[in-house]
């Protein structure tokens, strides 16, 4: 139900971490907060953080809800590649922008549907169910582009990646729109409650009359759509579909963003805004590493170090003094038994 986890104190670690990383960037690079207008578009390192963070933020929005149902979607990177490949190839073949967008989004939707059906109907464990598309999906994307980087010149499609709306870069605009639409969809309806209920206890939810398969499929479909939009953005940004590399390993970043945002991998409560904040923390860190002039060999270690600190700040052990139910060991860490025990054979 909640857009972000209830109570301001619970969100403190995330916002605190974002501010800390931004401040660290500022110390490394004094012009970090400088923003100017360039060709009618905001320009500056801070804008880069938002702009470059947009794809992961989009993925994180979809991923948040998947994770809230106690699932995970490893295929988002591949779905990005597919949607981008379709967009670039169709644009190259002369299709109009609306047709291109519709086809790309439809591809994302189909991918989500496939994942959702595997999870909800065939009951394959999510990590494996989506692994199938993670592997095969990139192949499909490469099949579309035949392994090449398919470039296009259409300014209309490129606008999605590098255009701006009221001086705000389009990727940022799209992310905000996606966030708003998603938030509306789960908060103004009872979907959010049902997602959380299914994530915490699928059996109980089904017993209370919740249509668990539909909730699960819906969540994966939405995740697929978000990934398709992210794929459009990266493709439009470089004016070409790089099926081999688009979205490569971004699923891990997205999961990381969600977890940094405080949503538990065990499902249940989720915070959309916080996941986006998580994505921004990660991107701010990446941008900071680029600005710092460290040798690239150290990137991973710096990243891991900062991450651990951010996550430690959220650790139940360290935040016992904050009112969050996770603090009450051991009940908070329980997962319901999943054994084929009495009554367990049926959903």
């Amino acid at each position: 139900m909640t857009l972000s986890a209830p109570g301001p104190s619970r969100n403190l670690p995330q916002y605190g971490a974002l501010i800390a990383v931004l401040l660290a960037n500022w110390l490394l690079f004094p012009d970090f907060f400088a923003i100017r207008l360039q060709d009618g578009r905001l320009f500056g390192s801070l804008i880069d953080v938002l702009n470059r963070g947009a794809p992961v933020a989009l993925l994180a929005i979809g991923m948040t809800m998947v994770i809230a149902t106690r699932g995970v979607d490893l295929s988002v990177g591949a779905v990005m590649a597919i949607s981008g490949a379709i967009a670039a190839t169709m644009t190259g073949a002369g299709w109009s922008l609306p047709a291109v967008l519709a086809a790309s989004l439809a591809a994302g939707l189909l991918c989500g549907l496939w994942n959702g059906l595997l999870v909800a109907v065939l009951r394959i464990q999510p990590i494996i169910a989506t692994l199938i598309l993670m592997v095969a999906g990139r192949g499909i994307a490469q099949l579309v582009t035949e392994g090449q980087i398919v470039t296009f010149t259409s300014p209309a499609l490129a606008f999605i990646g590098s255009g701006s709306f009221l001086t705000v870069p389009m990727p940022v605009v799209l992310t905000i729109v996606a966030l708003a639409v998603t938030a509306l969809l789960v908060r103004a309806t009872a979907l959010g409650l049902m997602i959380e209920a299914v994530g915490v206890n699928r059996l109980s939810s089904a017993g209370a009359g919740v249509n668990t398969p539909v909730v699960l499929v819906a969540v994966y479909v939405w995740c697929g759509l978000c990934a398709a939009v992210a794929g459009l953005i990266v493709t439009a940004d470089i004016r070409g579909a790089d099926a081999n590399n688009a979205g490569l390993w971004l699923e891990l970043d997205a999961i990381l963003a969600v977890v940094v945002g405080g949503t538990s991998l065990l499902g249940g409560r989720f915070g959309l805004v916080l996941s986006v904040v998580g994505a921004l923390i990660i991107q701010a860190m990446n941008t900071g590493i680029l600005l710092s002039g460290f040798k690239p060999e150290f990137n991973l270690i710096v990243k891991a170090g900062v991450l651990l600190v951010v996550l430690l700040l959220q650790s139940p052990t360290l935040t016992l003094f904050l009112p969050r139910p996770k603090g009450a060991r051991p009940i908070g860490t329980v997962k319901p038994p999943v054994a084929p025990t009495s009554g367990g054979a049926k959903p």
Binding site: T189, L193, S204, G209, P323, P336, G343, A345
Partner: protein, 526 residues
């Protein structure tokens, strides 16, 4: 009743000033408790009084905020269950806390497996497991995963494990909640034997009869505070109830007026013909009319739970037909049942009932919301109203409606589940063991509530192992045996004796000897 061994000078277990607070709740506030050698000591109190918390704090599951615990005069402060076990304190916590994925034998000997040449001696473990279960008359395949067995069998296994481990202190938190009379009798026999060996037993229950049957003394808690300790013999029942509730209980549930006989002539709300499922329940006929309570009675594993699961569509019937309001319907799942106005409180509330991390409010409105569909959200204000109404109506002990339900005491979780269905104003409410783990005060309230609901025209289908309770509120009792509906008692025929006779007819009852069924998650009883 006196212990047969001479009491040594220091008490076996002396708890002084024990305190434990959770966020927003002082669960224990300076509680004293004394357990003597060779004594069975009842620990009583309403739902949420702090009994389970006392036990968990004592055994190191929770770290205490204050107070001392002395075992035979020596101070102890176990930092975990493992340590408590090493001090010879064996515990069965509330709700079965064994591991469904391990075999029975592994559950019994987890952490203390017999070893040979540095490796676990599985043969010896199996043999010893059979021996440990033998006093309980349980002859089951100890290599089968525990999850295959019914809650009752699991409970007995948990008890057997704790008994086998506790050389000094045995703690049982509501062990009898899911046991039937025969099994309780067996348990009591074991407890008396242990007492005669000088072992001290802490016994938590909501069944006052059982308290008076086996306990030597009683300690009562209320709202985390000690109310007092008495010898059982010196404490009349009514005084005990008053100690627990802090007020007098209205005259105990009486046999209610069953209403005009015309009920039978009303058209049934729901009717099932030849309904059944292979390897689950034999086909049965069942009519339920508005305003009546139909009870299902039978031994553990007789098929009551499976019957109601079929009626609610949790399991899918593979034969027979169901009609509601005269129209044939197909129950493809709980959603269909909910749409027809059915409600179902399952037996295993932790696994199939509560949604642990969600708040009490969300748990209460979940079914109502599910029926309305996701597009029509219940406004937050309305949700709060509903939640508050039921929290008051059912006296659910929670600081507020926003508390995650998993932090409530067991009995209060059960009440919240009841509230979930009442909020949907169901036409047929199915309750599987509704009063399990519920305290005397709430017990009386729930029975009164059942009466009132029926008066309003709701139909109820209740599974209960407490025959007095069944007799108190139902005018029709279906008796099951071996997964078959064997008898139906109506109106005046309904009495404890008749039910027992129906259960016992033909085959004499043999105490729990279960074997896992082949090829199905359920089990057969032999």
């Amino acid at each position: 009743m006196t212990a047969s061994t001479a009491p040594p000078s220091a008490p076996l277990l002396a708890i002084r000033g024990l305190s434990k607070a959770f966020l927003g709740v002082q669960a224990l506030d300076g509680v004293d408790f004394t357990l003597r050698h060779g004594e069975i000591h009842a620990l009583l109190g309403e739902n949420g009084a702090g009994k389970s918390t006392l036990i968990k704090t004592l055994t190191g599951v929770y770290q205490r905020d204050g107070g001392t615990v002395a075992l035979e005069g020596r101070e102890i402060a176990p930092r975990g269950v493992e340590e408590a076990q090493r001090l010879h304190i064996g515990t069965v916590y509330q709700e079965v806390n064994l591991l469904p994925n391990l075999s029975v034998a592994e559950n019994l000997f987890l952490g203390r497996q017999p070893m040979r040449w540095g490796l676990v001696d599985r043969g010896a473990m199996r043999r010893r497991a059979r021996a440990v279960l033998q006093p309980y008359g349980l002859s089951i395949d100890v290599t089968a995963p525990l999850g295959r067995f019914s809650v009752a069998t699991q409970q007995i296994i948990a008890i057997a494990r704790a008994v086998d481990m506790s050389a000094k202190v045995l703690i049982l938190d509501e062990p009898t909640a899911s046991l039937d009379a025969q099994e309780v009798a067996v348990l009591f026999k074991v407890m008396r034997t242990l007492r005669s060996r000088g072992i001290g037993i802490v016994f938590v229950t909501h069944f006052l009869d059982q308290v008076y049957e086996v306990c030597d003394s009683i300690t009562v808690l209320r709202n985390g505070r000690l109310v007092g300790e008495r010898r059982t013999a010196e404490l009349p029942r009514l005084d005990l109830v008053a100690m627990m509730l802090g007020r007098e209980l209205e005259a105990a549930a009486h046999r209610i007026d069953l209403g005009p006989a015309e009920v039978d002539s009303r058209p049934p709300l729901a009717s099932f013909k030849g309904f059944g499922k292979a390897r689950s329940v034999e086909p049965f006929d069942l009519d339920i009319r508005p305003g009546e309570v139909v009870a299902l009675a039978g031994l553990l594993g007789s098929g009551r739970t499976e019957t109601v699961r079929l009626v609610f569509g949790m399991d899918r019937a593979d034969r027979g037909e169901a009609t509601v309001d005269g129209r044939t319907i197909r129950l493809k799942g709980p959603r269909d049942a909910v749409r027809l106005g059915f409600g179902f409180c399952p037996e295993d509330r932790k696994k199939e009932g509560i949604v642990g991390e969600l708040s009490v409010r969300e748990n209460i409105i979940l079914a109502l919301q599910a029926r309305q569909g996701w597009l029509k959200p219940i406004p937050r204000r309305r949700q709060e109203e509903i939640a508050d109404r039921f929290i008051r109506l059912l006296d659910i002990r929670t600081p507020d409606a926003e508390r995650p339900i998993q932090l409530l005491s067991g009995g209060n979780q059960q009440k919240a589940l009841l509230a979930r269905w009442l909020a949907t104003e169901p036409r047929l409410l199915i309750l599987d063991e509704p009063t399990r783990g519920i305290d005397v005060g709430a017990h009386a309230e729930i029975i009164r509530l059942i009466e009132r609901l029926c008066a309003d025209g709701m139909a109820l289908l209740v599974v209960s192992s407490e025959l007095e309770e069944i007799v108190a509120y139902s005018r029709r009792v279906v008796v099951l045996r071996d997964r078959r509906h064997v008898a139906e008692l109506r109106g005046g025929e309904v009495s404890v004796e008749r039910i027992v006779a129906a259960i016992a007819s033909e085959t004499p009852h043999a105490i729990a000897s279960e074997t896992p069924a082949t090829g199905s998650g359920a089990e057969v009883r032999q």
